[in-house]
């Protein structure tokens, strides 16, 4: 199975699973009764659309596989993604953001911003120098302070540092 087929099968499975799970939730979940029109009418419509789209995806996959034109299912400019790179970036950036924001709430906005920015530059910037890792985060920290603390007056709980 090539990558396109795996991707399309996964897409169809995801869409169908969401649609079916949603309809089961409507059938067996606790929905508060509403006069004349149930409150799940819009979600239900969306779930029907999901299921129809999933079936459409599978039908298209079958059709193009039989015709031997599987590439027609991909956008013309589609490129294979670097899954390892994306995994690292997700872990570093999205995972790091959770830690960063926890630090913002406990340590302080500016200190956390400088530290997180320095970490991201050190790991991501291909030609980062020691000087740039020190200076750029300070500038970003100053910008965040000027914009959000001075101009906007962002409200944060009391923190340990600045």
């Amino acid at each position: 199975m090539n990558r396109t087929m795996v991707k399309e099968l996964l897409s169809a499975a995801l869409v169908l699973a969401l649609g079916v799970a949603g309809l089961l939730h409507i059938q067996y979940g606790a929905w508060r009764p509403a006069p004349l029109v149930p409150s799940y009418i819009m979600p239900q419509t969306a779930y029907y659309f999901l299921i129809a789209s999933g079936v459409w995806l599978l039908a298209a996959l079958g059709f193009f596989t039989l015709k031997g034109r599987l590439k027609a299912l991909q956008p013309s400019d589609a490129k294979d993604q670097d899954l390892v790179g994306v995994g690292v970036a997700v872990a570093l950036m999205l995972g790091g953001a959770v830690v960063y924001f926890w630090l913002v709430l406990n340590l302080g906005l500016i200190v956390s911003t400088i530290a997180f920015n320095g970490l991201l530059i050190a790991v991501l910037a291909p030609n980062a120098t020691f000087k740039s890792i020190l200076i750029v985060p300070l500038l970003v920290g100053a910008a965040v302070w000027g914009l959000f603390v001075r101009m906007i007056g962002i409200t944060l709980p009391p923190t340990l540092l600045f």
Binding site: K7, S11, L14, L18, G22, W31, R32, P33, A34, P35, L36, V37, S39, I41, M42, P43, T45, A46, Y47, F49, L50, A52, S53, W56, L57, A60, R69, A72, L73, Q74, P75, S76, Q81, D82, V86, V88, A89, V90, L92, M93, L94, A97, Y100, F101, V104, L109, T113, N117, L120, L124, A125, P126, N127, A128, S132, V136, A143, V144, I152, I154
Partner: protein, 504 residues
């Protein structure tokens, strides 16, 4: 009438008012250019100060911020692929691609000119045919509105060439995300997984920034990491030399290029003006619909999504053309048709003026001064935009290794600052992860965002229609206008499916 115009001119062109308009536009462009911040947010923050200002001064400041913010949103959309405002989401599709191809200046200038043209068109419509157009918009009942929403969703899904099924699927996911929170009729919590933080629903800003910006930033981060690991110093040197190698003189928008975008700009101006006058329809819908229609009528439709100047012009013109017409329901009937109109309505009330038809009779001079200020602010937007753009073009070419982390942090802090809500930050990160997953599986993202934006309006229209029809689905096809929308939607799907197959 002449006396009123003289009085209005004296108010609108008072040096202090002009100064406030300048200040407002500058502030609006700057804030709009920062991902997560918008002119609406600045207007909301300034509302308490409105109470202490003369009406003409306050209106000058607010109008300046509004117009500057609308254009500023496109700067972030083009420079970083991060829509600074919800209305700029459609601009980022082609704008960011143009920037990646080394044409940030052309893209930004196209956005500026089309924004000003669309905006001015909309203001003129507001001034001359406000009341009749509002009457047309208000003849739309829930059945027609639902058909319009369905048409918009199908149009944007059909735009995802080769991925109509995926487009429809993510539009449905977007609608479902919009359903999270309290049911507007029964007040019961829906789809919250028992989390109290979700009972208020998902805010637009974290979802929008997460889906479009965070996922893009993560993918850029992945590319940077790969380069670093592989030690591809040639690539690094190429990236590093982007700023030095970038020659702005070769990136100037020519007259021929500007002329080629005019048709798309006019389409955007017409669509945006009409959509802006429809209560609740909003800038994003106008921008996406303008983009879709301009692509259909373009001779170079295949370039859309790959840095097309027409794509930028149509989206930006459509977005900005809602600016004037969004006030039509507010002035004519006292109904705020958008968040911005609601903020202006609040400002009117703070100044002791009740929005509605009486505004035009009780405060004629002030309202006409506002009309003049709207037009003048466009001129200021053009001048300030022209002055600032060269700097923004250069900023956009700074090394991504330094920009990506800064944009990522600004997006997080900006999202928090919008509502001072920690939940919004978690929603942002969840939306970012969802965006990454959908991108990996080649799902288009625009339909999801549109589904999320118009989901509540579509639900309201659907439920009102169903109540009107006594629970009978056939009520949805009892209006000729609605049937027209459905037929057009079906035709579009057939057209795109058949055309796509023929092409491949």
């Amino acid at each position: 009438m002449i006396e009123v115009l003289i009085e209005a001119s004296a108010l609108a062109f008072h040096p202090y008012v002009l100064m406030y308009v300048f200040l407002g536009v500058l502030l609006g462009i700057t804030l709009g250019a920062i991902p997560g911040l918008s002119g609406d947010m600045a207007i909301a923050l300034l509302l308490p100060f409105v109470f202490f200002l003369e009406p003409a001064l306050a209106m000058g400041l607010l109008v300046g911020i509004y117009k500057g913010g609308l254009f500023g949103g496109s700067i972030a959309a083009i420079s970083f692929g991060v829509p600074g405002t919800p209305g700029a989401a459609a601009t980022s599709i082609d704008g960011y691609q143009a920037k990646l191809k080394g044409k940030p200046s052309k893209a930004l200038h196209t956005a500026l000119y089309s924004s000003v043209i669309g905006d001015t068109t909309s203001d003129l419509v507001l001034i001359f045919i406000a009341v009749p157009l509002a009457a047309v918009a208000l003849t739309f009942g829930p059945i027609e509105f639902f058909a319009l929403y369905a048409f918009s969703l199908i149009l944007i899904a059909a735009l995802s060439q080769g991925m109509v099924a995926k487009g429809l699927a993510v539009a449905a996911i977007g609608v479902l995300l919009a359903m999270i929170g309290r049911d507007p009729i029964t007040g019961a919590s829906r789809l919250t997984f028992g989390l109290p933080g979700l009972s208020g629903g998902l805010s637009l800003i974290p979802v929008l920034i997460g889906i479009f910006a965070i996922s893009e930033v993560v993918f850029q981060g992945a590319k940077l990491w790969r380069r670093k690991v592989d030690k591809l110093m040639d690539d690094v040197a190429e990236q590093a030399s982007l700023l030095q190698g970038y020659d702005i003189s070769k990136d100037k928008l020519t007259w021929a290029e500007f002329k080629s975008t005019l048709k798309a700009t006019y389409i955007g101006a017409a669509v945006g003006t009409f959509i802006g006058a429809l209560p609740g329809a909003g800038q994003s819908l106008a921008a996406f619909m303008s983009y879709g229609l301009a692509q259909r009528f373009s001779r170079r439709s295949e370039e859309f999504g790959k840095g097309s100047l027409e794509g930028i012009a149509s989206a930006e013109s459509g977005n900005s053309a809602t600016c004037g017409s969004t006030f039509i329901p507010l002035f004519a009937f006292g109904i705020p048709g958008s968040a911005t109109a609601a903020l202006f309505g609040a400002a009117f009330i703070l100044m002791g003026m009740t929005p509605g038809p009486s505004l035009l009779t009780d405060y004629t001079a002030i309202i006409y001064a506002l009309f003049l200020t709207l037009i003048f602010a466009n001129l200021v937007n053009l001048v300030l935009g022209k002055i600032l753009l060269p700097y923004y073009s250069r900023i956009a070419m700074i090394q991504p290794g330094y920009m990506i982390p800064a944009v990522f942090i600004l997006a997080i802090v900006g999202t928090y600052a919008a509502n001072n809500s920690v939940v919004d930050v978690w929603v942002l990160l969840f939306a970012g992860a969802l965006g990454v997953m959908l991108r990996l599986m080649s799902f288009p993202l625009a339909p999801l965002v549109l589904g999320f934006i118009i989901g509540p309006g579509a639900e309201r229209a659907l439920r009102q229609s169903m109540i009107m029809g006594g629970g009978d689905w056939w009520v949805l096809v009892k209006s000729p206008i609605a049937i027209g929308f459905y037929v057009a939607a079906f035709a579009l799907i057939m057209l795109f499916t058949v055309v796509l197959r023929a092409k491949k």
